[in-house]
């Protein structure tokens, strides 16, 4: 999205309820800033994130999609994030294979105690996506404003 001639990326962050969403809350508790372009969607576990959601976000105008889950081994559901890790490794590799910028997707493990990491991750991700510019390769022209 262009705001006053400046590109502001739209970032969808899927956060697992137990670690990363809490980590994001902690970033808030600690008043750690990160860009407002990041919008969080709460999911019970990172393994709830269907590749279709990620593509859907790009279709609807997202410029970057990030999944945050508990650190491997810490999954509230024991093993959900392990599956996430495999699924996303394969999916992201495929997107890269299709020539879609790999910087637009990311998986990051953020615990409930890592408010600072959450904020830092988001700052970094937004910065990287901003540098890439608008998502052109997975856009749906019908959804353009």
């Amino acid at each position: 999205m262009q705001v006053n001639g400046e590109f502001k990326p739209l970032i969808v962050a899927f956060c697992c309820n137990w670690c990363s969403y809490a980590g994001a809350d902690l970033a808030g508790n600690n008043r750690l800033n990160y860009p407002a372009e990041v919008k969080i969607i709460r999911v019970p576990c990172s393994c709830r994130v269907n590749p279709m959601f990620i593509l859907r976000a790009f279709q609807r105008g997202a410029d970057g999609v990030i999944l945050c889950g508990c650190h491997p081994g810490d999954c509230h559901y024991t093993s959900g994030n392990y599956y996430t890790r495999r699924r996303m490794a394969l999916l992201f590799s495929m997107l890269d294979y299709l020539g879609i910028e790999k910087e637009r997707t990311r998986v990051e493990w953020v615990s409930a105690a890592e408010g600072a990491k959450f904020a830092a991750t988001m700052n970094d991700f937004v910065e990287k996506v901003t540098a890439l510019g608008e998502n052109k390769r997975l856009e749906d022209l019908r959804c353009k404003k």
């Binding site: 609807r60 105008g61 749906d140 019908r142 959804c143 404003k145």
Partner: protein
């Protein structure tokens, strides 16, 4: 009749393209396809394009209308379509015939204006066939591949292309190209036509006979037990319908972009399991019923409603593209007594 030497053909394309959008068949890795002429392409010699030419008038998807919904209110935003004049160059006899078949559907009352507008803005320049393929059987439906219909009919020989305008629209276009073409007699064309007709007679499917089918034979064919066995191999994909020049089933769907609702029309296939699924159930639940519908439509229902004209033009695309090689020829052989 006008002619142009083959080496000047691209000049002619450039001339047409300077005023109208010009589409010519171009060779690609996936077979020939129509491309908008941009001065770089050369015309394909392939017999036919992989996809049919129906897209020009009945595209796979088209936006019908947009709605803006706000609270309880709806705003209708009709698309303001600027239809540009365009020229299709090199359509074969079968595809040109398919336009007539589609016309009888879309231009029948109530007229489909999307189709009508495109039809009015398009000039069809057809190309006579010289080397029909083994899968061709247009003759079965009374189509002469050597002498197609069209606004302008072309014949391509070893060194020249001959033009014969058949309609006012065609004449107007041909006249605008007078500077590039020269007047000629029809001798070369006649010779080619005669030669092609000889080839057509020898095609493997030349003897395929459709006379067993036709108008008012619904009850004769509908309950034939053979439908069960021949439909057995059908996978229920839509390949045949999508490459078919005369299939015109469509669906109307809404797409909510988040800001507005786009209502679009897209191709649908009577081979799909949920094609006839509506709120109150599905009337064609099994593949055999759907399979029967497609072929009955082409061979019986359409002729019934259209003075005996068949809904198939024998282009052979379905023969080439069916994943399991099931096609209308096999149906006609099985049910129509063709051996």
């Amino acid at each position: 009749m006008r002619k142009i030497s083959l080496d000047k053909l691209n000049q002619l394309f450039a001339e047409i393209a300077s005023k109208n959008s010009l589409y010519i068949p171009v060779d690609t890795a996936a077979g020939a396809k129509y491309e908008k002429y941009d001065g770089t392409q050369t015309m394909s010699d392939a017999l036919n394009t992989t996809r049919s030419a129906k897209d020009f008038f009945f595209p796979q998807t088209e936006n019908l209308v947009d709605f803006k919904v706000e609270g309880k209110n709806i705003e209708i935003k009709e698309p303001v379509n600027e239809y540009e004049d365009f020229v299709i160059f090199g359509a074969r006899a079968c595809d040109v015939k398919s336009f007539e078949i589609l016309d009888r559907v879309f231009l029948a009352d109530p007229v489909d204006n999307f189709y009508k507008n495109r039809r009015e803005h398009g000039v069809v320049v057809s190309m006579a066939c010289t080397k029909p393929a083994e899968t061709c059987f247009c003759g079965t439906f009374g189509i002469d591949a050597a002498a197609p219909a069209g606004d302008i009919v072309c014949h391509k020989t070893a060194d020249a292309v001959y033009f014969d305008a058949k309609t006012d629209k065609g004449a107007k276009l041909l006249e605008s190209l007078n500077a590039l073409t020269e007047d000629t007699d029809s001798a070369a064309v006649d010779a080619q036509t005669a030669q092609t007709r000889e080839v057509l007679k020898k095609l493997p499917l030349a003897g395929l006979d459709a006379s067993a089918f036709g108008a008012d034979k619904t009850m004769e064919f509908f309950n034939r037990p053979e439908w069960q066995t021949i439909s057995e191999s059908c996978l229920g994909c839509g390949t045949c319908t999508f490459v078919c020049p005369t299939c015109q089933c469509y669906d109307i769907k809404d797409f909510n972009t988040g800001n507005e609702v786009k209502r679009y029309r897209c191709w649908d296939s009577c081979m799909y399991s949920d094609f006839t699924k509506m709120a109150h159930g599905n009337i064609r639940n099994s593949q055999v019923e759907r399979f029967r519908q497609r072929f009955m439509h082409k061979l019986v229902y359409y002729p019934t409603n259209n003075e005996g004209i068949f809904g198939c033009v024998g282009c052979g695309r379905c023969m080439a593209k069916c994943p399991v090689n099931m096609n209308i020829v096999k149906v006609m052989r099985k049910l129509g007594g063709n051996k």
